[in-house]
């Protein structure tokens, strides 16, 4: 009797359990079925490109946007300092996250040549070949001349240092704005250019040049290259050595700022673009590289970005440029930076 009742209850209980399971399974299935798909928003790998850049947004922004517009490729930009990005590329060498390094002086890019894919641009014959890579590790992007800027309120037209050698004159002692070459790549290029030009034209030794230049800096070395123009504009310093790009841009809003191209000429070390070895989106990286040296982009450099094109046709009529010996620059680097360190230590 008892067992039969128990069986009866067990059966009822079993049925209840079954019904519950069915209901819950139904709910579960309906919940699953409603899950929306992201299929519409799925990007093909072919449509992607990851750009590492040391450019400022005002440079890469319009170029990347136009690239996207014209190719339909989605670009992810990761921006940072030149050394930061190059170190990152080296770290990721085994499994690269980026596809292309956009920006960075060609001297720096050459140092990291092992991380880059050898690629010769289809347009290489239209480009300035003075600094082209012997290993095709990079392709030049824009030329950045070193210039002397001055505050026209403080410096009389007649007393302008029209030659690099005037910079070394006692007259400018304590009046020159210059950024630490250790922190600023362009600043190192500037001092190296000074040494290369003056030793070539006047037979001065590196020591003579360094001694007199450092003496003229009067132990006042600026932290960042951006500060050079600020000091000149504010009148703290009369003249400064900086990139033409920065000076031209600053002139737009500061009519008192002047630019001087020394009579010996000046160097215009280009920056470049390099495809990262084993990039995941190799084809798109090549497209981007080709785009960076196309006519429109190179024209825009001059029209809107205060830079000089690396395309031969855009350099017509220029005669200021002096060759910058990259190998020598790399060889001299340690020694020259140490001189600055020594000076800096003395001041501290």
């Amino acid at each position: 009797m008892e067992t039969s009742i128990k069986n009866y209850f067990n059966r009822i209980f079993g049925q209840m359990l079954l019904i519950t399971c069915v209901v819950f399974a139904g709910l579960f299935l309906s919940a699953c079925g409603k899950k929306e798909e992201d299929g519409d928003f799925l990007l093909e790998e072919d449509d992607k490109l990851v750009v590492y850049t040391s450019h400022k947004e005002e440079i890469y922004g319009p170029i990347v946007r136009e690239f996207e517009d014209r190719t339909g490729i989605w670009v992810e930009v990761i921006a940072g300092g030149t050394n930061e990005m190059l170190d990152r590329i080296r770290q990721e060498k085994e499994n690269p996250a980026g596809d292309i390094m956009f920006g960075g002086g060609v001297d720096s890019l050459q140092v990291y040549a092992d991380c880059f894919e050898a690629y010769r641009s289809e347009k290489s014959d239209q480009l300035n070949d003075a600094y082209s890579s012997s290993t095709d590790s990079y392709t030049v992007f824009s030329r950045l001349p070193i210039v002397i800027c001055y505050n026209s309120k403080l410096v009389n037209d007649a007393s302008l240092p029209r030659s690099w050698v005037y910079i070394l004159n006692d007259y400018w002692k304590g009046k020159i704005a210059f950024a630490s070459p250790e922190n600023s790549g362009s600043s190192y290029t500037a001092i190296e250019s000074l040494i290369q030009i003056l030793s070539e034209d006047y037979g001065l030794t590196e020591d003579e040049i360094m001694n007199r230049f450092l003496d003229n800096l009067d132990n006042d070395l600026l932290e960042k290259s951006g500060a050079v123009l600020d000091r000149v504009i504010s009148g703290e310093k009369m003249i400064g050595i900086c990139l033409e790009e920065a000076a031209l841009k600053a002139m737009k809003t500061n009519p008192d700022l002047g630019i001087l191209y020394p009579q010996e000429g000046t160097t215009a070390l280009p920056d470049g673009t390099a495809i990262i070895k084993n990039a995941r989106h190799m084809d798109n990286a090549r497209l981007f590289l080709e785009f960076s040296v196309c006519e429109d982009v190179q024209k825009l450099l001059g029209d809107r970005m205060y830079r000089r094109s690396v395309r031969v046709e855009n350099a017509n009529g220029e005669n200021f440029e002096r060759f910058y010996d990259i190998d020598r620059s790399i060889a001299d680097r340690q020694r020259i930076l140490e001189r600055f360190n020594y000076i800096k230590k003395e001041t501290e």
């Binding site: 209980f13 519950t20 992201d38 992607k48 319009p62 946007r65 989605w74 024209k299 970005m305």
Partner: protein
């Protein structure tokens, strides 16, 4: 199979209460919660999608409006003339026209007219100096290559039009369909705000993205959450656009004509907290019902179990032999009935046992009496024997004969055998006749007829003697010389050829009274007062051989005849021994 641990009625009841009350409640609760969640979610989704449509319509409407405006400007002859001319009068006229057309929008949109080379000719803003927009690049390039289109594009950083988020450009064509310039509309934050105003709830986050999911405009909340950037990163990294960890639910729609995406983010209607609260309430209810179950189980168990326990205890007492126990039977339900029955049962049992005890007691008493009575016969018999020999010595032969017959009679009657042979029975009758003859001084004569073949027939002891005694005492009481004749014969009767024994006792006395005769021949012989010998003999025969045998009596011409009728059973020697 018995459970290894003892299950009490209470726990079983509790388990079933829990199953019956908790399981449906929890199931129903869970079902309702998920149902209401999905229902609310659906409604919320519909509402949000409607809102998204609103936003779409607002943007599309606004874009149509400004497209129309750009069309008007690009078709204005004054402006066309103004672009081509250097005459300041004509330029002024163009400006007047431009301002006329753009009156309603200038607070939201900047209007610029460029010539074909990208040089700024007219501007509704007060920018200093002539600006050049590259005509080989960006929106001017698009406008030139697609003069009929009006595409909105995110403004690149290089533009100095601070505050302008998106631009749309339209080529200005001369009569020969050649491009002579461009009209560029720059939408400021204010413009975008005006565009979206009123189309969305204050609780929603709206972000407008371009073709490549670059942020064009975000409401403050969307900006705070960095919505556009997060979504673009997800899309770039191939992650799911909507993720479970999101605080917002996203709805994304694409405006195909404008190549814009609208993202609408809303907070989840049903947050985890609400769900938790719902489940919490359910849990509390479950606990309450658990408590109720415990209480109810306790009460019902008590209600049901108390009488059962009482009964169990009473049973225990009964098992120990005490039948006085009674249980409370005041309840009117089945348990009350059960208690009643129990009480009745114990009552009857008690009464029965009491009767039995009384009977046993009585039996014992009679047994004792019998045993006491049995002591005497042997003693009596021996004494009689002694008397007989004493009488013979003294020459009192009559006394010796009397005592000898009495002793014989006594010996047969006290022997343990129930059955004796007919011959022995007849000897016993002779002994009795002898004694009576001495007592009545030969007042009657006696004869008997016993065929030889019937001598060994087994009959119950002392069945003939009472009949003879009755004939002597009652039949011959008034006559001096009576005669008693015992005639024994047998016959075969019936289909079975049964052998029937007849023992007829005849006398020539006064006969039976009519009423006694009637009683003798009826089945009820209880009325035979004074004829106890008859009754006993009849009863013995009936008990031994069946109802159709027994004793029959009748009056004759002179005297009466009493017949003992019984079957002759052929006993084997063994059976004989046992019977004797």
């Amino acid at each position: 199979m018995k459970s290894p641990f003892k299950k009490s009625f209470k726990t079983e009841l509790l388990i079933w209460f829990l199953v019956v009350s908790l399981v449906p409640m929890v199931l129903l609760g869970t079902f309702l919660i998920s149902m209401s969640r999905s229902q609310l979610k659906r409604e919320y989704e519909i509402k949000t999608l409607a809102e998204l449509e609103n936003v779409e319509t607002a943007i599309a409407g606004y874009c149509d409006e400004i497209h129309e405006l750009a069309n008007k400007i690009s078709k204005s002859p004054e402006i066309k003339k103004g672009i081509m001319s250097r005459d300041s009068w004509i330029k002024n006229k163009a400006y007047v026209e431009l301002y006329d057309l753009t009156n309603a929008y200038r607070s939201q949109i900047w209007f610029d007219i460029y010539d074909v080379s990208g040089k700024n000719v007219f501007s509704t803003t007060s920018r200093v100096g002539a600006e050049i927009l590259p005509s080989y690049w960006g929106i001017l390039k698009t406008a030139k290559s697609h003069p009929d289109q009006f595409e909105l594009k995110k403004v690149s950083q290089y533009s100095e039009n601070d505050g302008v988020r998106i631009e749309g450009a339209k080529a200005i064509l001369n009569d020969d369909e050649e491009c002579i310039g461009y009209v560029v509309l720059g939408l400021t934050d204010a413009g975008l705000k005006a565009m979206l105003e009123g189309s969305y709830d204050s609780g929603s986050c709206i972000a407008v993205l371009d073709e490549f999911w670059e942020e064009i405009y975000s409401t403050n909340e969307a900006k705070e959450r960095n919505l556009a950037q997060i979504l673009r990163e997800r899309r770039m990294n191939g992650e799911s656009i909507k993720q479970d960890s999101d605080e917002l639910v996203f709805y994304i729609s694409k405006l195909d004509d404008l190549k814009l995406y609208i993202v609408l983010g809303r907070e989840h209607l049903i947050t985890g907290e609400i769900t938790r609260t719902m489940y919490g309430v359910m849990s509390i209810m479950a606990v309450v019902s658990l408590g109720l179950c415990l209480l109810a189980a306790g009460i019902i168990t008590g209600f049901l179990l108390k009488p059962i326990k009482d009964m169990r205890n009473a049973m225990k007492v009964v098992r120990e032999g005490d039948l006085h126990v009674r249980v409370d039977n005041r309840r009117t339900d089945e348990l009350g009935e059960l208690a009643e029955s129990f009480n009745l049962m114990t009552g009857r049992l008690e009464a029965h046992i009491e009767t039995q005890i009384a009977q046993q007691k009585e039996l014992n008493e009679s047994n004792i009496a019998m045993m006491q009575a049995q002591l005497n016969p042997h003693f009596l018999y021996n004494t009689l024997d002694t008397i007989k020999w004493g009488a013979k010595e003294h020459g009192a032969d009559e006394l010796a004969s009397l005592v000898s017959n009495l002793a014989k009679l006594l010996r047969t009657s006290i022997s343990g055998n129930q059955f004796i042979t007919l011959k022995q029975e007849m000897e016993l009758v002779n002994n009795y006749i002898n004694i009576q003859n001495i007592r009545f001084k030969d007042g009657f004569t006696y004869d008997e007829e016993l065929p030889m073949e019937l001598e060994d027939v087994m009959v119950p002891k002392l069945i003939v003697q009472p009949i003879v005694e009755n004939a002597i005492i009652h039949g011959l009481s008034e006559s001096n010389r009576g005669h008693i004749f015992v005639n024994i014969w047998h016959e075969f009767t019936g289909v079975d050829s049964e052998e029937i024994l007849h023992i007829d006792v005849e006398d020539d006395g006064k006969g039976f009274d009519e009423d006694i005769l009637k009683a003798l021949n009826s089945s009820d012989k209880n009325e035979l007062k004074g004829h106890i010998g008859f009754k006993n003999a009849d009863t013995i025969i009936r008990l031994n051989y069946g109802e159709k045998y027994g004793i029959k009596a009748a009056n004759q011409e002179k005297g009466a005849i009493v017949s003992i009728i019984m079957p002759i059973l052929n006993y084997s020697d063994n059976q004989r021994e046992i019977l004797q």
